[in-house]
């Protein structure tokens, strides 16, 4: 599967989730900085539980296979006891692929 086809599939999945899309857009804005769920929540206006669902999946409400971590769009950064998240190179390339469209 080519990278472009992969991106199209990811974008189709994103279109179905406002939460995942807002997280992606926020992490794109602060790239290459990482952020933690409470900060993402404050800046997007989406509650922390849903932010975690979008990032990692949550069996009941957010399909884990479509989570941003699972799709390789976001990566986890452990600093001490805190887990931060940042846009991966693939995530950045995904957003920037939209320049063409």
């Amino acid at each position: 599967m080519s990278a472009e086809v992969g991106f199209e599939e990811i974008l189709r999945a994103l279109r179905r989730s406002r939460v995942r899309t807002e997280i992606l857009m926020y992490l794109y804005k602060i790239y290459p900085r990482a952020s933690y769920p409470a900060e993402i929540s404050r800046n997007t206006g989406i509650d922390s539980t849903n932010i975690l669902g979008g990032l990692r999946g949550m069996s009941s409400r957010f399909d884990e296979s479509s989570s941003l971590l699972n799709q390789g769009i976001v990566e986890r950064v452990e600093r001490g006891d805190v887990t931060y998240y940042r846009l991966s190179e693939r995530g950045k390339a995904l957003v920037e692929s939209l320049q063409k469209g």
Partner: protein, 130 residues
Amino acid sequence: MNEMKKRILIVEDAPYMREMLVEMLEAQGSDYDVVGIAVNGKEAVEKYKALKPDIVTMDLVMEVMDGIQAIEEIKKDDQKAVILVISALGTPEYRDAAMRAGADGYLWKPFTVKNLTDELTKLVVEHQTK
């Protein structure tokens, strides 16, 4: 694009997106001037009437009054209002609802500065020729 700056009203409840839109538009130098910011639909209607901007960028999911209602209210007041919806709601149903309410364009998140300026330029050109 044009020697006349286009006056923009940003309607958005998420702090990061308000900041991002201002940064993106200011980076365009002389093309756009952000004349106001509203954090919900009700404020948008009030600020539209007071500021009469050339273009409104409109979020859809907001408390107090959502974007669809705000579009309807603004268009009721001024049929010539130019409104670009910017939303993370990516299914065609939302786009159709916004366009039925009177939106002139719809930009899905995620987007880049180029996507934004392309949409704005398209709206400016379309509304100059009408």
